[in-house]
């Protein structure tokens, strides 16, 4: 029965429960926007909010991927590359799970595109920045796109606010594909440099006596 134990270890180390919770959170947000709860002004904001909800999944996947910098993962006997690929498959399956739950009135293609963009960006940032900066950046991408990128009703969002673009947007699809490819590449690549190495915002707990 040793494989049961192995599965338990993977579930715990990869924080798969947390990924499940994040999918639940997205589903909850979509349900609240679409469901029986009476939210004033819902019609005006729902169209902007549902494409941003996959940010919860991106945070959970990025958080889960930090396991690859942990000693127990780095010194495990199986191939690191194989396990990273398995992690990418896990992320892909989660995105598909989200796309299945797409609410009425929302486009499945946009859900896959946006979730892919945010998850890919998560993988990328996690290798380029230290963990708190990476998580904070992922979390702030949708709010900034929404607050700074939306225009008055009836006007298309700004070019760079790709999460709000319609299904047909070529810019958004390209950016999403690029984020996925770059994200997976940096995850697989062993020696991607971390640009921002500092562990704490300013100064370090151990830098001075």
């Amino acid at each position: 029965m040793h494989y049961v134990r192995s599965i338990q270890v993977v579930l715990k180390r990869w924080r798969i429960g947390r990924i499940g919770v994040s999918i639940g959170a997205v589903w909850l947000v979509w349900g609240l926007l679409d469901g029986p709860l009476d939210v004033p002004g819902r019609d005006s904001i729902a169209a902007d909010v549902w494409p941003l909800a996959p940010v919860f999944l991106a945070l959970a996947i990025a958080d889960s991927a930090t396991c690859f910098s942990h000693e127990t993962e780095r010194t495990a006997s199986r191939s690191l590359r194989g396990r990273k690929l398995a992690h990418v498959c896990l992320a892909g399956a989660s995105v598909l799970a989200l796309s299945v739950m797409t609410p009425a009135g929302a486009a499945t293609g946009v859900v896959i595109r946006n979730a892919g963009f945010l998850v890919g960006l998560g993988y990328l940032l996690l290798r380029l920045l230290s963990r708190p900066y990476a998580l904070l950046t992922i979390a702030m991408v949708p709010p900034i796109m929404w607050i700074m990128g939306t225009q008055p009703p009836g006007v298309a969002p700004a070019d760079w606010a790709i999460l709000l673009h319609p299904k047909s947007s070529i810019v958004a699809t390209t950016a999403s594909a690029a984020a996925v490819v770059l994200g997976i590449a940096t995850l697989m690549h062993e020696s991607t440099p971390q640009i921002l190495r500092i562990r704490t915002p300013f100064g370090s707990r151990t830098s001075r006596p």
């Binding site: 947390r18 939210v39 002004g41 005006s44 708190p132 949708p142 915002p201 100064g203």
Partner: protein, 391 residues
């Protein structure tokens, strides 16, 4: 003491909060349309809207500092310093944010003054940044407590998303206690309410006290009980007041100066410098309406309380430097449609839509130097509105 404060400053998120606050607040103000600079109240109030993005970021940073602090939780708790250390880090963060925020608001006020707005902010306008800093302090407290208790770095991402959602939700349902500013149109004839601002401040302080008192681990439970009770009391009292309060702004009668006739143009001091352009812009339209036999417009005013039949309220002056014509045209249309008591009947509605479309077309004609012509169906629409609104 100074040495300790400096050590705390260097090792907490304070330096980063200092830079992030100033940079983000100025960016979120100056990267948007700059009409708010015309009015001092509007400028400061719109500066405060930056908290929508800054509060989540500070919450995330504080969560990270809380996670870092919690790695030494054993030592803090054993020595009875848990609450003190979390509160000290939070207080240092609040101090940096407050200083940085005040500097940012001062820069915006200076930019407004520099662009020709008379006077500097009064006490009431300057006061509106105090509840805003209170909101940021509350976000910091939430971040510290969540980070301290969970010790999980993922909350550096989750706290910002939750804080942002709460703020946006409060904007949609008009909850007065999770938002502090932001207006898309002119605030002439509006004034921030002092009592609502004070209640907001009490709410944020109460929330911060409640959140931080939860960071206490170990001994001294009695002290914590007092803080929890005080925090809950403050939240309940100010929350009840804010739920009952009707908005964060009150309508006032602005100090307008009226000049001219047909129509008389009443502008507040901030807009006095645009008067000549408004007069020029309204000329052709008023003439064209006269020729069509439409009753004369008495007054165009910025006094929000003084809108009656034949009086147009100038509600907002978007893109004033590009085309004040559209502003004036919009106000003249408002004079016909908004003061009309029976405008919900179908024929008035149709007539109004026709007039609105014609006015905007007419003004693009003016911009190109063409004369304004009133087609028969538009003249008829004006008469329909005029009859409905005067009887």
């Amino acid at each position: 003491m100074m040495g300790m404060a400096w050590l705390l400053f260097r090792r907490s998120i304070a330096p980063f909060a200092l830079i992030a606050t100033l940079g983000l607040m100025l960016a979120s103000f100056f990267l948007r349309p700059l009409e708010p600079l015309i009015e001092m109240t509007w400028a400061i109030y719109n500066f405060n809207f930056g908290t929508v993005l800054l509060a989540p970021i500070l919450g995330g940073l504080a969560a990270w500092d809380g996670v870092r602090l919690s790695s030494a939780r054993g030592i803090f708790v054993a020595r009875g310093h848990a609450l003190r250390s979390v509160v000290a880090h939070w207080a240092m963060g609040v101090l940096s944010v407050a200083v940085s925020y005040a500097v940012g608001a001062g820069l915006v006020a200076f930019a407004a003054h520099n662009s020709g707005t008379p006077a500097f902010p009064g006490a009431l306008q300057a006061w509106t940044i105090v509840p805003a800093v209170g909101l940021l302090s509350f976000a910091l407290a939430i971040g510290y407590v969540v980070g301290w208790h969970t010790s999980q770095p993922i909350y550096v991402g989750v706290v910002p998303v939750i804080v942002f959602s709460a703020i946006i939700f409060s904007y949609t349902v008009n909850l007065n206690f999770v938002r502090v500013g932001g207006a898309t149109a002119s605030m002439v004839s509006l004034r921030p309410r002092l009592d609502v601002g004070a209640a907001q401040l009490v709410f944020y302080i109460g929330g911060s006290v409640l959140a931080l008192s939860m960071a206490a681990g170990g001994r001294r439970l009695s002290a914590r009980a007092g803080a929890v009770a005080a925090g809950l009391g403050a939240l309940a009292l100010s929350g009840a007041f804010l739920l009952a309060a009707d908005g964060t702004l009150e309508t006032i009668s602005p100090d307008v100066r009226c000049v001219g006739d047909g129509p008389e143009l009443c502008l507040s001091p901030e807009y006095e410098r645009f008067r000549a352009r408004f007069v020029t812009a309204s000329g052709p339209l008023v003439e064209a309406l006269d020729l069509a036999g439409v009753p004369k417009l008495e007054r165009l005013t910025q006094n929000g309380l003084d809108v009656g039949v034949g009086i147009g309220f100038i509600p907002m002056l978007r893109a004033i430097d590009e085309n004040p014509e559209v502003v004036v045209a919009g106000s003249i249309v408002n004079a016909f449609t908004n003061s009309c008591r029976s405008r919900d009947t179908e024929d008035v509605w149709d007539a109004s839509s026709l007039v609105v479309r014609w006015v905007y077309d007419a003004y693009s004609a003016v911009e190109q130097g063409d004369a304004i012509a009133i087609p028969d169906e538009v003249a008829e629409a004006f008469r329909v509105i005029a009859i409905q609104c005067t009887t």
